[in-house]
């Protein structure tokens, strides 16, 4: 049975969340997490980070550029 130390586990978290680990490694992560609250907290922090990164303020094209592109489309694609 494959085992991870906490220090090794934190390096495979992204692969684990992406479901990109091979079956024994995936199982080893799950069994480590089942009995290690510390890594559970790390995983929670990691997930919270991913959620927080998604929450960046929206960007916007300037009206000038947007207008220019709309008229370029209109000109070029005139039905």
């Amino acid at each position: 049975m494959k085992r991870f130390t906490c220090g090794e586990l934190v390096e495979v978290i992204t692969a684990y969340l992406d479901d990109a680990l091979d079956e024994p490694s995936h199982a080893a992560v799950e069994s480590h997490l089942a009995c290690c609250a510390d890594c559970g907290h790390y995983l929670d922090q990691y997930r919270a980070t991913v959620r927080a990164v998604a929450d960046q303020p929206p960007e916007k094209l300037s009206d000038r550029t947007r207008d220019r592109l709309m008229s370029a489309f209109r000109e070029r694609r005139k039905p």
Binding site: T5, G7, A20, L61, S62, L69, M70, A72
Partner: protein
């Protein structure tokens, strides 16, 4: 939410035929939905906001001109983003901000400081010395704004390749296969860049939450 994840755009074939038929509402919807993420990605390659906007503009002009030749071998989004990344790379090179895509050097090594774990002589080698804390959920508006600002700063300070990958994956909500296609990198490479980027942002947040919790 990412620009794509929250959007309700129709399937590619519907969009493509609408664009070919000159459907302005469809073009406007696409422009408004995708430009947000495109600006963010362009900004990772070039030095000013104006350059980023020009790169996005050039990309859309190329899309308008090239949509008749789109063959659907990749998704429309991937196709548009590939045009964007090529334009941004060229522009960045002119501004001497060349990104070394071949070497992984600055992205190697552990993503968490090895000093956080017990050494080989400890009872439990490789286990946490000081356990990671559970973080508060910032319900308070001011706190949430502070976290957003902190993350913006942390993203800006990442090595460019890490910043581009985390922007595509976590800010824009692209799938990993899409990111590999857009940037022409392997899944393993994509994962390493993403992992290091997330770990760096997590570390910043950890420092922040530690100070917030200490102050309470």
């Amino acid at each position: 939410m990412g620009s794509f994840a929250g959007s309700a755009l129709p399937p590619d074939d519907v969009i493509v035929s609408a664009l070919r038929a000159g459907d302005e509402a469809m073009f406007a919807a696409l422009l408004d939905t995708w430009s947000r993420g495109m600006l963010r990605v362009a900004r990772s390659y070039v030095s000013t906001d104006d350059s980023a906007e020009e790169v996005v503009q050039d990309t859309w002009l190329a899309v308008i001109g090239g949509i008749d030749g789109f063959e659907g071998r990749s998704s429309l989004k991937t196709w548009v983003y590939r045009i964007l990344v090529n334009a941004a790379r060229k522009r960045g090179a002119r501004e001497s901000r060349t990104l070394p895509w071949s070497a992984l050097d600055q992205d190697g090594g552990p993503s968490v400081d090895p000093a956080r774990f017990h050494g080989p002589d400890a009872a439990l080698p490789g286990s946490w010395k000081e356990p990671p804390a559970s973080w508060p959920t910032p319900e308070n508006q001011a706190l949430a704004a502070e976290v957003r600002g902190l993350i913006g700063k942390a993203l800006a300070e990442l090595p460019p390749r890490q910043r581009i990958v985390i922007t595509l994956r976590d800010v824009e909500g692209c799938a990993s296969e899409e990111v590999c296609d857009i940037l022409d990198i392997s899944p393993a490479n994509q994962r390493v860049l993403l992992h290091r980027a997330r770990a760096a942002v997590r570390e910043r947040l950890e420092g922040y939450f530690r100070s917030v919790m200490a102050a309470e």
